[in-house]
């Protein structure tokens, strides 16, 4: 089957996987609540330890940007790996394999993780700005960084979640395998955030983020069927 009907079929199926994950998480709420609680705790800790006036003025923009992305990354790391691990824990992986291909499942779970990351960022970034008196001269540039960084983080985390889902020591293993792959995303994200807070649009870091997102998405798409095999 080719043409518009097939494309609509793919997106609607991916959306169905995303909606299933969202319904599952919202029904129990424990996992989602723990992610937001982690973000709140990290924010509170940083704010209490450093405070709005605890950083030297000349280093504020780089330290604020770094702290923000540390909070976002580790908050996401508590929740994003659950994408495929949840299916194995609840025993629904086999059923899902019967009805959906690897590409559809990866797209749906990647989309859910992206929306989850955006929800974390939507709460964390304003709270961070208020608690640490962080002024962002270019909110549009910051939004672009969060969107690009969030997509890369989500797609890589979703793919790696599929890899570690049926391995031992899953939680520790996820951090071990994801950290070296996510650093090339986080470094330009921090650089772009620094420039956004100073009012500039960081063209080079944003281009690097876009290239990284494109490469990760293509690689995940091509390998989806392999990691989804029984």
């Amino acid at each position: 089957m080719t043409g518009p009907r097939a494309r609509l079929g793919f997106f609607s199926r991916a959306w169905a996987v995303c909606a299933k994950d969202a319904a599952q998480e919202l029904r129990r709420r424990v996992a989602i609540a723990s992610i937001f609680f982690f973000a709140a705790t990290a924010l509170a800790l940083v704010s209490y330890a450093v405070g709005p006036f605890g950083l030297p003025p000349e280093a504020r923009s780089s330290l604020d940007a770094s702290l923000l992305w540390i909070i976002l990354f580790f908050s996401a790391a508590t929740g994003l790996p659950r994408a495929f691990v949840r299916e194995e824990e609840t025993g629904t992986g086999l059923g899902l394999r019967k009805v959906a291909s690897g590409v559809v499942v990866l797209a749906g779970k990647g989309l859910f993780n992206f929306l989850l990351f955006l929800a974390i960022a939507a709460l964390s970034v304003p709270a961070f700005a208020v608690l640490l008196e962080w002024r962002v001269a270019s909110p549009v540039a910051l939004a672009a960084v969060v969107l690009l960084g969030g997509w890369g983080l989500s797609i890589v985390s979703t793919f790696l979640s599929a890899l570690v889902a049926r391995a031992g020591q899953r939680n520790v293993l996820f951090l071990v395998v994801s950290f070296p792959l996510l650093v090339p995303l986080l470094l330009p994200a921090i650089a772009a955030t620094i420039q956004a807070s100073e009012g500039a649009v960081a063209q080079t870091p944003l281009r690097v983020l876009a290239a990284y997102d494109g490469a990760a998405t293509c690689a995940a798409y091509l390998l989806a069927a392999v990691v989804w095999e029984d």
């Binding site: 793919f159 391995a167 071990v176 395998v177 090339p184 470094l187 290239a211 690689a219 995940a220 392999v226």
Partner: protein
């Protein structure tokens, strides 16, 4: 491969001797520290090459499902880890001489530390899966995925941020900033380390195949 082995010994001996005796130390470097380029850069190149070889054999396994390809891929990663560690050690010696400390979180220095983490993550991932077929499939998928993103780690990220590291062979001017003797010894070292890698790869992967065959025959 037998002829490669016979050629490698005199070749590497000549490279080591020439690196200390022939080119003059480069300007802008303290003492004889510039000579480390004949060992440090080939180790770095070989570490990156090893991962690309692993990714290539991983693609081969995904296509053909031949266990031999998986063995070669894993062996390539182990050797890549060795050369990445050697890169860090030689780089740290240079950093101590030039900048006064073995480690200062320079982006280029740190990129190879992360490459060590990447290799280690591949081996951890494989060690966490008991089933051989699934281990090969997961390892191959990770190697290919990581190979796509590795250039961002090794080539892009260190160039986005400011670094103390001397200008690299691949630089914005597109010129090799070395005199003729240095260039000759450098490329000879590069060829020697590449040959050394492939020789070690052949031996190690042959050992892995013999171990597998012995296990299968009981």
């Amino acid at each position: 491969m037998k002829y490669l082995k016979l050629l490698l010994l005199p070749w590497m001996a000549a490279v080591v001797a020439a690196s200390f005796l022939w080119p003059e130390p480069a300007k802008g470097f303290l003492g004889e520290s510039s000579r480390i380029v004949f060992f440090h850069v080939p180790c770095a190149w070989t570490a990156a090459l090893a991962f690309l070889v692993a990714a290539g054999y991983s693609v081969g396994w995904l296509v053909a499902r031949n266990p031999r390809f998986d063995e070669v891929a894993e062996t390539a990663v182990r050797l890549g880890l060795l050369f990445a560690v050697l890169t860090l050690l030689t780089g740290s010696l240079f950093a101590k001489i030039m900048w006064g400390s073995y480690w200062n979180w320079d982006p280029r220095e740190s990129s190879y530390l992360l490459l060590v983490f990447l290799y280690s993550a591949y081996l951890f991932l494989r060690a966490a899966v008991d089933d051989r077929e699934r281990r090969a499939r997961i390892g191959s998928a990770y190697a290919v995925f990581a190979a796509v993103l590795m250039p961002f780690l090794v080539f892009v990220a260190p160039r986005v941020t400011a670094s103390l590291h001397p200008q690299t062979v691949i630089n914005p001017q597109g010129k090799i900033l070395m005199d003729a003797p240095t260039k000759t010894v450098f490329f000879a070292a590069l060829a020697g380390f590449t040959g050394l890698f492939f020789w070690m790869l052949e031996i190690e992967s042959r050992l892995a195949r013999l171990t597998r065959e012995r296990r299968q025959t009981g």
